[in-house]
């Protein structure tokens, strides 16, 4: 048994729980759309926008993953 890196819930294996896995996949999948929309955008800029801009209708779990990934980035 291990814990989800984002929410600490018990999972059988892996890094993320189911909910946060879906959220992380969605974040990755949508990145290219954002790059196209703004012509250029880095992964870090993307995550920052997603986690900071209250106008963006992003789901809470996706936001939690974005915040986690940003923190990992800093280390």
């Amino acid at each position: 048994m291990v814990k989800c890196v984002v929410c600490q819930s018990t999972i059988e294996k892996g890094e993320y729980c189911d909910a946060h896995t879906i959220a992380k996949n969605n974040l990755e999948k949508r990145f290219s759309d954002w790059q196209k929309a703004y012509e250029k955008m880095s992964w870090k800029e993307y995550l920052t926008r997603i986690s900071d801009d209250a106008d963006i209708p992003v789901g809470e779990w996706a936001k939690e993953v974005a915040i986690y990934l940003l923190e990992q980035n800093k280390k």
């Binding site: 819930s9 909910a19 959220a23 969605n26 703004y38 209250a54 209708p57 992003v58």
Partner: protein, 714 residues
Amino acid sequence: MTDYLCISEKPTAAKRIATALDEKGKPKKLPVPRNFGKIPVWESMRKGDRIVTIPALGHLYSTVEDSAGGWHYPAFSYKWTPSYLANEKNKTRPFILAFKKFGKEISNVIIATDYDLEGEVIGATIAKFACGQDLANVKRMRFSTLTKSDIVNSFEHRDPTVNINLVNAGFARHEIDWLFGINLTRALTLSIKHATGRYKLITTGRVQGPTLRFVADRERDIQTFVPIPRWVIDAKIDLDGDEIFIEYNKKFLSSLKEAEKVVVETAGRDGIVKEIGSRKITQKPPSPFNLGTLQSEAYRHFGYTPSRTLRAAETLYLNALISYPRTSSQQFTSAINHRDILTQLTKSDPYRIRANKLLSKSKIQPTFGKKKDPAHPPIHPTGKKLAGNLRNEERNLYNLIVCRYLAIFGEPSIKNGLRLDLDINGHIFYFRGMKVLKKGWLEFYAPFGRVDEVELPDLAVGDVVKLAYINHKQSYTQPPARYNPNSLLKKMEEQELGTKATRASTIDILYNRGYMEDESINATDLGFAVIDTLEKNSPDIISIELTRKLQREIENIQTGKKTREAVLMESIVQLKDILEKFHKREKIIGITLQEQVQNLKQRQRILGKCPKCKQGELIITRSIRTKKRFVGCTGFYKKQCDWSAPIPQKGYAAPAKKNCKHCGFPMLTIRRKGKRPFTICPNWLNCPGTPDEVIDNYRNNKAGALDVFVEEET
């Protein structure tokens, strides 16, 4: 002279039946022993015969476990018992006493409950258990309205026996629901108990689980949603000083560059009217109401939830104003005389003109939809005049039902959809209009079928207009919408979950049990935890297919294709399989369920370790008394730490997941619509980072003192 005992479903219906059957329209209220309470027993005289009518109060009997007891599973043996014995709060004992007393005296028993699965079970249990009748000898009155003529007719042409298939299907549904409900609820609850020693009742049922799953799945889609940016073009033209919105021919642009290009290339330029087109749209009149479409329209026009609509419709039915509402039929049979009903409606002011107009037609032909229901016709008015004793929502609903009924005899409506195309430097913009050419059925459905007509501006091809304003606006793709009670009911219908009679109450139960909340339905943490855990460990419990299959089996009993015993045996085999699989994974289910219930709730609230006691955690919580939000230490519950502080009340507060650089307290983030999120220190009263002004304002009780603080933190 013959004596008859007539079993009715409710006191109001009993009075109507007794009055209709009594030749003078004045049935006698028979005296009953004191311990029967105020239960009305009616005696009607008809052609020398005596008819005693007694009401039930819905179900008087229910299924209970038939064993020495103990809270365990599997529990496969059950028996039918008076509901007042099964549940102390149930007050139906006098009703059973009345049926027993008169059941002894009178041997000709007639069931006159609502003609459907529930009604059949209510009647059959009373005839069998209270009156001691063999169901093969029990007669059945069938009616779709409580009008005098329908009741008399159904008495004179009563069925020689009850519909035994319907009875068996009704019994089987109760029994299967009981089996699934009790076993799954016990399994879930005991899994937590066995794994963690804690007791938390987790209830579920055959239809509840899969219904909650829709809500939880939607919640997951929303919470994991990542939008795509897009842009819209905002533009207005100037027409003699009036600014009028026009739409760009592409609703959304997928890149900022593309949006900028449109603005740059059109700003300050004139537009030329390039084309004016029109398109005829013919719309057929709607189908007659069944319960589902009535609930849906009542939600749309009045905002009534499906269960509220059903309750109001039931009152209208009991007042003999409309036909039986629990129907899925959208097709009238020739048995209903529309000319009669319309003639009755001409006696009511609001409907006179429209009803007369329909009566003047040579042929009165209603529309029909796809759904059939052999038991009852579509919901329609009886023609009886509205009495003064109705509540507002009942009146509204009645009006909707009558207008719909009038509309189904109308002609198709014809509308003209207009579009003016404007060319601005090669970019095409639209202006849309709408004109009704022929009202048709819309006239009869008024005020419900209103169309907003929009005139096109007085322009011709080649005219030049001035662009008054143009800019692009950032927007995003949107997460899927949450269910509301109405769309959830529709989803259940579409997926064949539950029946028309039970769907609305299943939704109510999920609210009452705390699995979902709000009008725009959220799965609660508890609801989400249950579905999430079951999806992983025991997917059959919330499987839509299984529920639907059981539903079909019940229908098979109703049509005589299968016996009640065979279907029950099959269900038990299936349930046994589910329970065995569940039991193998009981431990992990129990642990994750408990953890999820705890964790989901907490992780939205825990800021971090409490710096004061270094044991508890600081959480965002609410005062039970003042309902105000504040930050406190969990040590408070153990009487170890009393640290707490007020925080701003507006906006969504969540852990910031970082510590204050001035005092080291874990911080929180406040999000408000349309504003940047702010991070504040919960220790602001003692934190060196807090501006003096905020403290002064707070000490002077200045309203919004903390809001100022939030604003200034940026």
